[in-house]
């Protein structure tokens, strides 16, 4: 694949910033362009989530982009984080556009909201209404209304099938908080111990407060261009080695999820099949990966991703985390070295993209020594995807 990440940008991450999503998106995109040494007018492609509130036309108007040749959106919130980068890289590789920005902007603090659209902020269950016409009719009447409830049910199945313990999820939360404690951009920087995790509020058993992603505002963006052009720009080019996208059942439709998921059964599909394509296309194996960003609305998603993408065996993610393999600096595969969605910020996982790029550039605060290959995946509980990034040397 002939595409590379040339620029990364992000806003401050904080609660209740009082800024619109367009405002946040423009800052992150301008910051990514500045990082790359590109004029904003060079952007000719835009990739975003289907839930994104910032419209392509608004970006053209606000940023002064004269012409867009390529626009694409990817399904699912946190599932699509890596796919944003994947779609941008495909467009560049295929010649559909030369300079594509992939971004996400959120104003979604607990009380902040700029409208009634279910994707526009506030709590989803407060916007579901009293009359349920969509998939909510199979969840809400039974009190299952928050993503935490759905992920807790998924986690309980993993525990039953594989003997995973609740505190295995907590151990990943502790690891990510340690990473965030050294990251000045992270919202939650006070280190926690597993005892703190045990003492934290249960949200939906087995998940506790520290297993949950944050609620905050912010935006992040990456700029993808050809490898050749990226080499002439400001930063060292970070190569996109391969990308995959896949359809898979989603946590908001649990009846279908449990009927078809590859998470617990010895079943192909979803990330299990996609992983073979991802590593096959790049000509490497999971053991060649130096650092991983795994989008996690809840910590259990990291454990599911470790297994489904083949970083450990089926059912082996609990012991993998317990033995410190996901903890920087000594783990075999440091995961979410910026603190992830539970400690740096929740930007639907798009804050994981700049961190993977920093790791390959060698500029991360928790830098994995000589990182050559970085892995990024969206939340495996959704239609999702993954990307491998590599150093240009």
């Amino acid at each position: 694949m002939e595409a590379a990440v040339a620029g990364i940008g992000q806003t401050t991450y904080a609660k209740n910033m009082g800024r619109t999503e367009l405002d946040l998106a423009c800052e992150a995109i301008r910051s990514a362009c500045a990082d790359a040494g590109l004029d904003v007018a060079a952007i000719d492609g835009v990739v975003s989530y289907h839930v994104e509130q910032v419209q392509e036309l608004d970006l053209m108007t606000a940023l002064g982009i004269p012409e867009l040749r390529y626009m694409a959106r990817t399904p699912s919130g946190g599932g699509g984080a890596a796919s944003l980068l994947g779609l941008a890289a495909l467009a560049v590789d295929q010649g559909a556009a030369e300079c594509v920005v992939a971004f996400r902007a959120r104003n979604r603090s607990k009380t902040a909201s700029y409208g009634i659209d279910p994707n526009q902020g506030g709590r989803p269950w407060a916007k579901g209404g009293d009359r349920l016409s969509d998939a909510k009719q199979w969840h809400y009447p039974f009190g299952v209304a928050a993503p935490a409830h759905e992920f807790a049910l998924i986690a309980s199945r993993h525990m039953h099938v594989y003997g995973t313990r609740a505190e295995h999820f907590g151990m990943q939360a502790v690891a990510q908080r340690f990473h965030a404690s050294r990251n000045p951009d992270a919202i939650m920087r006070d280190p926690i111990t597993i005892d703190d995790w045990h003492a934290s509020r249960p949200i939906a058993e087995p998940l506790r407060l520290f297993d949950c992603s944050l609620e905050n505002d912010g935006a992040a963006a990456v700029i993808v261009t050809s490898l050749e052009r990226a080499r002439d720009l400001e930063q060292p080019a970070v190569k996109v080695l391969s990308q995959v996208q896949y359809g898979a059942p989603i946590h908001v439709q649990l009846c279908d999820f449990f009927a078809t998921t590859a998470a617990f059964e010895e079943r192909d599909g979803g990330a299990v099949t996609a992983s073979r394509r991802l590593f096959g296309d790049a000509g490497i194996t999971p053991s060649d990966v130096d650092v991983a960003m795994m989008v996690e609305p809840f910590t259990v998603a990291v454990l599911l991703a470790l297994e489904q993408y083949g970083f450990c065996e089926r059912g082996g993610s609990g012991p993998f985390v317990e033995s410190g393999q996901t903890l920087w600096p000594d783990g075999a595969l440091p995961v979410n070295t910026h603190g992830g969605s539970t400690s740096e910020a929740f930007v639907h996982g798009v804050n994981h993209l700049p961190e993977a790029v920093r790791q390959i550039r060698g500029t991360a605060v928790n830098q994995v020594a000589d990182a050559e290959v970085a892995f990024i995946c969206g939340a495996v509980s959704d239609p999702s995807g993954a990307v491998l990034l590599g150093a240009d040397r």
Binding site: D130, W138, P141, H160, P202, I203, L254, F258, A259
Partner: protein, 137 residues
């Protein structure tokens, strides 16, 4: 008094049939009239063979707890006064899955793999839901 339940108000005919059967005290699910595969939630056609011919057959209501959680902070107003409560995913003997709530046990006593029965229950006026009861061996 608790806030009212959020109510199913399906716009699709297939979803509506499930709830209208439930309102009459019948737990029925879709079965492909050509290949016999059960499906739920309702769908317009069979994913196994593509047939749109469908029968609404009585479900056994029997199954096992496939997944289980105990929910602590209230989210939906209707459930505020009963937190913590136990929500489950049930795998029915027919092979389909349903989300439900356990009403007859202390949440701490509810475990994955326990046999359960779905019982249609009028939780408030004109709202009948399949709630789960643990079946003692």
């Amino acid at each position: 008094m608790s806030a009212p339940y959020p109510r199913p108000a399906p716009i699709g005919a297939h979803d509506a049939r499930f709830w209208s059967f439930a309102a009459q005290g019948e737990l029925r699910i879709q079965r492909c009239a050509d290949c016999g595969v059960h499906r739920h939630p309702p769908r317009p056609l069979c994913a196994a063979c593509g047939s749109t011919a469908v029968e609404w057959v009585a479900a056994s209501g029997r199954g096992e707890i496939w997944a289980r959680t105990v929910i602590h902070p209230p989210t939906l107003p209707a459930f505020t006064e009963r937190t913590p409560y136990c929500a489950v995913v049930v795998r029915l003997d027919e092979g389909v899955f349903m989300v439900s709530t356990i009403v007859d046990r202390n949440p701490d006593d509810v475990v994955v793999a326990a046999p359960v029965e779905l019982v249609l229950t009028e939780v408030e006026r004109d709202l009948v839901l399949p709630l789960a009861r643990v079946v003692d061996a």
